[in-house]
Symmetry: C2
Subunit: 229 residues, 2 copies
DNA sequence: GTTACCATCCAATCAGTGATTGACACCCGA
DNA sequence: TCGGGTGTCAATCACTGATTGGATGGTAAC
């Protein structure tokens, strides 16, 4: 364990702060270096050593300030991505008093639009890829991070689809959210050969797909699905 | 590079074959050892060293017979999973001459049902997880493996939804397929604490969700999706 | 019968990873 | 002036996947 800090959610308690060296804190220098390397080499090709070196620091700096590689990635994502959703989601959920598919569409659009805007830039694509890798490729289900707080969406969805059980609502929202993550978090190809690069889907396609899936009529759980035999 | 073999698709040309040692080939012993360890420790916690040791072989055996760790995983998935879909898909696609959402539902069910059956056992869950990790977490889009051959499904889907463009069909099928992969390839929790383990969704839920998404009416690409401002 | 060949197997090793440690420098408050 | 704590540093741990040159042993050609 490091001497002291690491998992502190408050980034800089400003203990000292005046030295004529860096305008940016070491923490920020590490985050900036990581971002630069992720963008330059691809998310999966960057080691903590490289990040420390890019920031001009010792090999233990990332571990000291973030606890681990994942800690740094989580911090980067929280700083860069969370603000994009905050305002839009608040507005969308406040407007959702009524019920019906139209409301679900509004909700889906509010979640999906920031993704669609992000993948228009290299930096945004990198961040989406990072988010998808962190949330989908993790070896055990992760509860942390504000992304797991999907409760409000499920409430809205449950109100719009009153004939569905809570269980069904939860499953459907999870399907929709992970689909979103995967769709916009695809690898950035960057490599020649192979397929001619599958691009990102149109926003309208994604919203139509997810809205229809979420608002699909209640399935008959017992029915056989294929007529084999 | 190894002395000779590795990427050979035909497993055993039976060059020699008579020694009184193993009834199973070294290749099979490695695959069996890997399967055992994946099941015991979790997919992400098994090194090639451990596989070689479990099989009672030298540290270079996996590299010699499969070229890489991914090579072994691909071979394992191909051997265990592909047969499950082959028959069912052939039957489903042969029956799909007509058009309409009902046909799409049949197609979706044919792809989804094997997943639903697999995740009922530990071994099946492990294989699903392995498949999802291989296809979704890869650092660049992978064209290899028979899974990439999604063309027939897209043809069927395109016939059932004639008002959609080819582009739209491709995007929708990809959304549906990756959703399926993620839904049934979730981490196996195995770890205490954290969330109370998100189980797999009901098959009926998945089929309803994906069928509705695939057959959603054509979106107006230009329309604003949220009424902000 | 002898030779050459070739697939296979083996141990050793390479280059790289994330994480951890103990020591050192420095500024702050006492 | 003196601790004490924060932050930095180089060295190192334990491990990963991959690669290599060299044995081994059965097969086939001569």
């Amino acid at each position: 364990m490091p001497d002291e800090p690491a998992q502190d959610p408050t980034p800089t308690p400003t203990p000292t702060r005046d030295p004529d060296q860096d305008p940016a804190t070491t923490r920020d220098r590490l985050l900036a270096a990581a971002e630069r390397l992720f963008l330059r080499r691809g998310v999966g090709q960057v080691s903590v050593r490289a990040i420390n070196a890019e920031a001009g620091l010792n090999p233990g700096a990332v571990h000291y300030h973030f606890g681990s590689r994942d800690g740094l990635v989580t911090a980067l994502l929280g700083r860069e991505l969370l603000p994009l959703w905050h305002d839009r989601l608040e507005a969308a959920t406040r407007r959702l008093a009524a019920t019906g598919p139209a409301q679900v569409r509004t909700l889906v659009a509010a979640v999906a639009e920031p993704f669609d805007e992000l993948v228009r830039t290299d930096r945004g694509r990198m961040l989406c890829r990072l988010l998808a890798q962190t949330m989908l490729a993790a070896d055990r289900p992760l509860s942390s991070s504000p992304w797991a707080g999907t409760a409000p969406f499920e409430v809205v969805l449950g109100r719009a689809m009153p004939e569905l059980t809570v269980h069904e609502i939860t499953d459907r929202w999870r399907l929709a959210f992970t689909t979103l993550l995967e769709a916009y978090g695809r690898p950035l190809t960057a490599d020649a050969a192979s397929v001619p690069a599958p691009p990102f889907p149109e926003l309208s396609t994604v919203v139509a797909f997810l809205t229809a899936g979420l608002t699909a009529p209640r399935p008959d759980a017992g029915r056989r699905l294929t007529a084999d035999g």
